[in-house]
C-alpha cells in the first residue's frame, strides 16, 4: 500500500509541517497569534526524517524553531495551534507559546528560547533512561548556533563519557539569526570537531529526507544496541525570515540565488515526485483537514481563566 510506504510517511509528515506553518504565516497578520514564530519552512527534512526513525516511546528535544519537531514526533496539532493562540487548551496551557512547545505524553520535551539550554536537559533525560535501564532513545535537535555555546561541548563530553542513549541532530541552516557560519566558526568542519569527543558522526550535506531517515535509523539502531552517542549534521535552508512569517531577502544578509537553489530541491517535492498523484492527493486532503480542524479547535477554545496566572509556579 503506497500510502503507508516510507516515501508516503515522509511526504505526509513534511507536508503537514509545511502547510501548518504556511497557515501560521497566513494567520499571523491578524494578530490572533501573539507569540513570536520561528518557521521551519524549507527545513522540514530534518525533523521528518529523524522522527521517522523513532518509536513512539522515544523522546525528542526540540528548539524554539520547534513546530516541525513537535509535529513530526506526532504531538497533537490542535494543542499546538491552541498554544499559539494563547488558549487554555494549548499544549502548555497558554503559558509557553510558540517557543516553548511541549508534549510529554508524546515524547516531546519542552523547547527553550535560550539557544543551547535544551542540550544538557535532553542528555539528563537520557541519563535517567540509562539509570532505569530503559531501551528508549533521546534525540536532541539543535541548531548550528547552539554548537557555539559552551554547554554543547560540556554535554557531548558527558554523553560519551557515560554512554548515554542520545542522538544529537544539528539542523544546520547556516545562520544564527542573520550571522553566517563564516562570521562565527574558526573552521567550517563541525564534524571533525565533534568527532574528537568520541561521538559517532553522520552527515547529510544536501538535506535529502530519505538520507536523513537512513542515517538517523542507523544511528538510533546503534545507540539502542548500546553504542556511543551519535551526532547527525543535516544541511537545511530556512526559506523565511529568522522570526516572523515573511521573507527577508531584501535586507541583504543572504543571497537569494542560494535560496533558489534550495527551493529547486524542495525536500517535499523530492519525496512527492516518487509518489503517484493519487497518493499525494489523498495525503494532501488529509493534511488540509487536519490543519483546518486544528485551527477551528484553537479558535473555539476558551481563554485561560486569569487566575491561572498564579497557578503552576510550584509543583
Amino acid at each position: 500500500m503506497e500510502e503507508t510506504s516510507l516515501a508516503a510517511r515522509l511526504y505526509r509528515s513534511q507536508k503537514l509541517i509545511r502547510r501548518a506553518e504556511e497557515e501560521i504565516a497566513r494567520i499571523y497578520p491578524t494578530d490572533k497569534i501573539k507569540s513570536p514564530v520561528h518557521l521551519s519552512i524549507g527545513q522540514e527534512a530534518a525533523a521528518a526524517g529523524v522522527c521517522e526513525a523513532l518509536q513512539p516511546e522515544d523522546i525528542v528535544s526540540i528548539t524554539y524553531r520547534g513546530h516541525a519537531g513537535y509535529i513530526a514526533k506526532g504531538a497533537p496539532l490542535k494543542k499546538m495551534f491552541a498554544e499559539l493562540f494563547g488558549k487554555s487548551l494549548g499544549c502548555a496551557a497558554g503559558k509557553g507559546g510558540s517557543m516553548h512547545l511541549v508534549s510529554m505524553q508524546d515524547g516531546v520535551l519542552g523547547a527553550s528560547a535560550v539557544v543551547g539550554t535544551t542540550i544538557p536537559v535532553a542528555a539528563g533525560v537520557a541519563l535517567a533512561l540509562k539509570q532505569r535501564q530503559e531501551k528508549r532513545v533521546v534525540v536532541c535537535f539543535l541548531g548550528d548556533g547552539a554548537t557555539e555555546e559552551g554547554v554543547f561541548c560540556e554535554t557531548i563530553n558527558f554523553a560519551v563519557l557515560k554512554r548515554l542513549p542520545i542522538l544529537f541532530v544539528c539542523e544546520n541552516n547556516g545562520f544564527a539569526i542573520h550571522s553566517p557560519l563564516s562570521k562565527r566558526w574558526s573552521t567550517l568542519d563541525l564534524l571533525s570537531r565533534v568527532k574528537t569527543f568520541g561521538l559517532s558522526c553522520h552527515d547529510v550535506p544536501d538535506g535529502n529526507p530519505f538520507v536523513v531517515y537512513q542515517e538517523a535509523a542507523k544511528a538510533v539502531m546503534d545507540i539502542r544496541r548500546g553504542g556511543v552517542p551519535g551526532f547527525l549534521n543535516v544541511a537545511v535552508y530556512r526559506w523565511k525570515q529568522h522570526v516572523g512569517p515573511g521573507e527577508d531577502f531584501h535586507v541583504g544578509y543572504r543571497d537569494q540565488a542560494e535560496y533558489k537553489r534550495w527551493v529547486k530541491r524542495d525536500p517535499i517535492e523530492l519525496v512527492g515526485k516518487t509518489l503517484s498523484e493519487k497518493t499525494r492527493n489523498v495525503i494532501d486532503n488529509e493534511v488540509e483537514e487536519k490543519i483546518a480542524a486544528a485551527i477551528k479547535f484553537a479558535e473555539d477554545a476558551p481563554w485561560p481563566n486569569q487566575l491561572e496566572t498564579f497557578s503552576q509556579v510550584y509543583a
Binding site: 510529554m104 520535551l109 539550554t117 542528555a123 533525560v125
Partner: protein
Amino acid sequence: MPKASRILSYFEALNEATVQVMENDPSVFLFGLDVDDHLGINGTTLGLSQRFGEGRVFGTPLSEDAMTGIAIGSAMAGQRPIHVHIRMDFLMLCMNQLINVAAKAHYMYGGTVKVPMVVRSIIGKSWGQGAQHSQGLHSLFMHVPGLKVLAPSNAYDAKGCLIEAVEDDNPVIFVEHRLLYGTKAEVPEEVYRVPFGKAKVVCEGNDVTIVGISNMVVECLRANKILEGVGISSEIIDPVSLMPLDLKTIAASVKKTGHLIVVDNGWTACGASAEIVASVSELLGDRLIKTTRLGYQPTTCPTSPVLEKVFYPNPVTIAEKTFSMVKPGSPEWHPSPELAELAYQTEFKGPF
C-alpha cells in the same frame, strides 16, 4: 518506638539524610565534582559511592552549566538528583539552567513537567577564602519564582531540610555554611522532615526581634548574650527557609517588640534582609516599627584576617547596631572587642 537521638555534627546529619533518602527511593542519585573522593565534600558524601555504587553517586567533569541541565533533564524524566557544589560561588556557572529552565519549567510547560532536584552548595567563609570562595548568594535565588531556598543553621534542621528538599517536587537551592559543619545538635536517627516556610523562634525576648540567616543565627545568639548585659531582651528568629519565607512568625514577633534587625550572611542591597524588612513593614501596615539591617560590607570579600574582620557582621557589631536602635540617644556603648571573635575562630583551622 521512635529511635533515639544522638549528638551529630552538621556534616554527619547531611550524610545520614542522604543515606536515608537514597535507601528509601531508588530514583534519588547524587553527583557533583569530587562527591566520590576521599574527602567527600567535607564528609557529607563520604562512603556514599561505596554504599550505592557509581551509577548513583558519581563525580563529574568541571561542567557546571551542563551538569545542572543534566540534573534538570533527569528530574523531568522522574529521577530525583542531588547536585553538589563545594562552593556557592560556582553556582554562577549554573545560572542559565537554574533561572531559565529549572525555575520556569513547571510553569512554562503548563504544569506538564516537574523538576524535583536539590542543588547543595557551601558558603566558604573565613581562612582567606576571599572574593570567589565565600559568597552567600541565596538572595539571587529568592528573587526568581519557581525556586525554593533553604539555609539550615544547625544539624537538626540540616537533616530534616535535606530530606524535605529531596522529596519536594520543585528545584530547591540548599545553602550550607562551612563554619556550621562542625556544629553539633541532637539529631534523631529516624527519617523526619523540617517543613518549608516555617521559621523558628530560637530564643524568646521582648525588646527587639533579630532575624539571623544561615550561620548568622549562631552570631546572633552570641549577640543576644551581650545584649542581656545591658538589659536588652532580644528574640532570635531563624527563618530556616528563605523561599517560601515565614513572614507571619517574624511579623508576630516584631508586633511584640516593635524593633526588627535582620542579620544576613550576604550583602544587604536587594538582599534577603531587604526583603524581610520590606515585607514585615507591609504586613504590619501603619504600625510604627523600627527596622535596620546588617550584612556583608558593600565591598568584595578581602582575604587578610584584619580586613576580613571588618567585612563580616559579628556579635559586637550586631549588639551595637541593636543597642543604638533600641536605645536611641543613649551614650555610645562598645562591648569588649574580644567578644567580636566569630564563633568559629576558636575552633577552625586551615588549610581549607
